[in-house]
Symmetry: C2
Subunit: 444 residues, 2 copies
């Protein structure tokens, strides 16, 4: 479980939900407001959080959720945040399906170096099939789910090879002798695989944490296998204690099966806490958020999980429609969850859509109540920590100023940062360079 | 010539020249020091410069110049600098041969928005043939010179289409009505060309300057044509007044031939001024810089212009070798210049290599002397302005504190920033959205 509970903030601009931006307490241009991102990062750093996190996608239609239509690109905004923060980790989402490993390795290494070792990469394979339309002639077809994960595994392998291009003491920079680096400590990747052929070396050194931290959130079988093999931090948004505990146990078991120490794979949950001074106030905020959603919007939002399927064609008050194989190559885990839930509870389409659209969280109430819930999830091995998706700025502040002090009193969360890198915060060891290990081994 | 003289700084870490890092006055880790980049940007902003500029390349060998081996990636470092500066423009190099237009358009738009309209893109086609080895399986062959420029033209067309995805008043964000944007002000790129197929729309809005400014530095016939058609700012490093004047006249003529107002294509020169309180001190600094170069290093540096050709195989004191067609697909304009110079002056290989390696600039001397030279170049239409490649931090400071006040006294350079965007600084108009123009025209 690392050194203690993990806490991070997903900075999500004008909101993850289609209608969050209509709430009076959120600036409706938050997704493209540097001041908003900076403020959320500074509040999170004031709380001594482990990291801030920026999600991503690369395909929109007029039906997309407002935040998706117009938002900062993750690596640029996190690089800007690196300059106005000093300790908090910076986790950017980047697709292994629609990027080049050499370019990706560089950008993360650059963020890692300029932030003093605070970078993380949330590796995604891109669920939105339409993305291929924005990357045509080089990759004309959206690869299917299984291939995307094979690509992701190879992509990550290449990126990590490139991140080890230079041993940590390669750059001696001796002005007198004129020796800038030791040639035997420069290593080409020399990768030639199924999807990528990359020579190297990377043109940037490693950071104080060795390599950026790898995050992953795939919940499908392929996604879980990839995470168990490769990720440092894996996360899900399960919403319920039992589901979270199952996910936690499964991921730890998979890590062990992959030959790893299960403590080295941190399993965390994305939660959307609604904290206020009183329980009444918390539920009032929830009501305000729900009140912004119309059925039409809820249906469009539902469609996003099914590759922008048009749900307005069905009677909203008939049972949830039979969609055949729909969504099998989209955000697989979401589609399965929604369909399963609708069948289990015998929901109409309207009910399923509103259930999906309404903010629903067990982490609602007073600081004490939410701290209790957080502690319960942590203690019963449902999560090593949490990513807060607190769209309203006031909800993040209430968590930092209300819940975090209680977690500290209970010895569950740090008083101060103990180190300087994201790995330090997470209790993950410095990532040794594979070539340095080889060199040492050969001396024995 | 715009509103006045243009001044920018190329932040070049540990130095453009192979041995600059050995000079006592430069931090040898400058290429990966955020503090160094920040300091250079702040000094430039104190001087009210138009922009800072970061060059790039994506292929290294053990023979590469030290700065190339280990440096920040341009978009990440400039995004970080955006957060610690307030007015100065931020120009990043990105290759149209080894990037995706959708990803590139996003990153520049993101930098542009988060900086309040200060982004510029230096479009390069990538001269280093080895780069293909780092981007294998998607682009296995390094495209030849002419194809690279055809790609660049189409790439830029796509990027600019994507930058016009949203009209400036598309996002109304009316919380009451629930209207986030006006659908008729969202425009797909719908591009399907020789090299790229990109649907759009881009998932980020335009900035206060409309579109990022496009820089270009191709000196070949293809490069000049591309710049005349597409660039806002074109630059060269000619080193001599006559060559600069020829280049200036040629580019302005080409802009006119392309149907543009020649004032809309700014032609600037990269210079490496060596300014000190006295002439003696300036020449002493130049000597210090030359003293760090060995023949071996000079030959390796020369090789970089010839696709890493090994020049140590030749007798250094024999005439400059006949290289056949060598370099015809590399940094074409550099190879031509070096070969032509060596033949014209009957140089040995050693002489040609040391000529290339030694710091040579007409902009050397006291602040008054250098200001005179600057004024002469500007007045005689050799340049609309200058990019300073001042590797030693002290040389940038000497220019800002010594030369700039003189230029101001003479009315050649601004006292204060007159606007907030890079276009404002350069005297370039706000870039209208093509769709907004169409809408207006249809009303007439």
């Amino acid at each position: 479980m690392g050194k203690g509970m993990i806490l991070g903030t997903m900075i999500h601009g004008a909101g993850e939900r289609r209608t969050d931006w209509r709430h009076p307490a959120i600036p409706s241009d938050a997704s493209v407001s540097f001041d908003f991102y900076k403020q959320q990062a500074l509040v999170s750093e004031r709380g001594k959080f482990d990291f801030v996190f920026v999600a991503d996608a690369m395909y929109i239609t007029p039906q997309s959720t407002p935040h998706y239509l117009n938002r900062f690109e993750p690596l640029t905004i996190l690089s800007a945040l690196a300059a106005v923060t000093s300790r908090i980790g910076l986790v950017a989402t980047l697709s292994s399906t629609y990027s080049e490993p050499y370019a990706a390795a560089r950008q993360f290494a650059s963020l890692d170096l300029l932030s003093g070792g605070r970078a993380g990469w949330n590796a995604v394979t891109t669920g939105l099939g339409g993305t291929a339309l924005n990357f045509g002639h080089r990759r004309d077809m959206h690869p299917e789910h299984g291939i995307r994960y094979r690509m992701a595994a190879e992509f990550t392998e290449v990126v990590q090879k490139l991140w080890d291009s230079w041993e940590d003491d390669a750059f001696v920079r001796d002005k007198k002798s004129g020796v800038f680096f030791e040639p035997e400590k420069m290593h080409e990747a020399d990768h030639d695989g199924e999807f990528f052929s990359v020579k190297g070396a990377l043109n940037i050194a490693r950071s104080p944490q060795g390599q950026p931290v790898i995050f992953q959130a795939g919940k499908s079988e392929d996604g879980r296998r990839f995470a168990a093999d490769t990720a440092d931090v894996v996360f899900a948004i399960d919403g319920e204690l039992e589901a979270a505990r199952e996910y936690y146990a499964d991921m730890k078991k998979r890590a062990a099966r992959a030959g790893r120490n299960p403590d080295g794979l941190l399993v965390i949950q994305g939660i959307s806490p609604i904290v206020a001074e009183t329980e009444e106030e918390a539920f009032r905020i929830r009501e305000e958020l729900t009140a912004t959603v119309s059925l039409e919007e809820a249906l469009a939002d539902l469609g996003r999980h099914f590759d922008h399927h048009d749900f307005t064609q069905y009677d909203p008050d008939a049972p949830f429609p039979d969609l055949g194989g729909m969504g099998a190559n989209g955000f697989q885990s979401d589609t399965e969850r929604i369909i399963r839930g609708a069948r289990r509870d015998g929901l109409t389409l309207r009910e399923a859509a509103m259930r999906e659209a309404a903010p629903k969280t067990p982490f609602i109430g007073t600081p004490e109540q939410v701290a209790d819930r957080i502690e319960e999830w942590h203690r019963t091995r449902a999560a090593d920590g949490f990513i807060l998706i607190a769209n309203l700025p006031v909800l993040l502040e209430n968590f930092v100023d209300g819940v975090v002090p209680i977690l500290r009193e209970r010895g569950l969360f740090r008083e101060e940062y103990g180190g300087t890198t994201l790995r330090d915060h997470l209790g993950l060891p410095f990532r040794e360079n594979r070539h340095a290990r080889v060199a040492e081994a050969s001396l024995v």
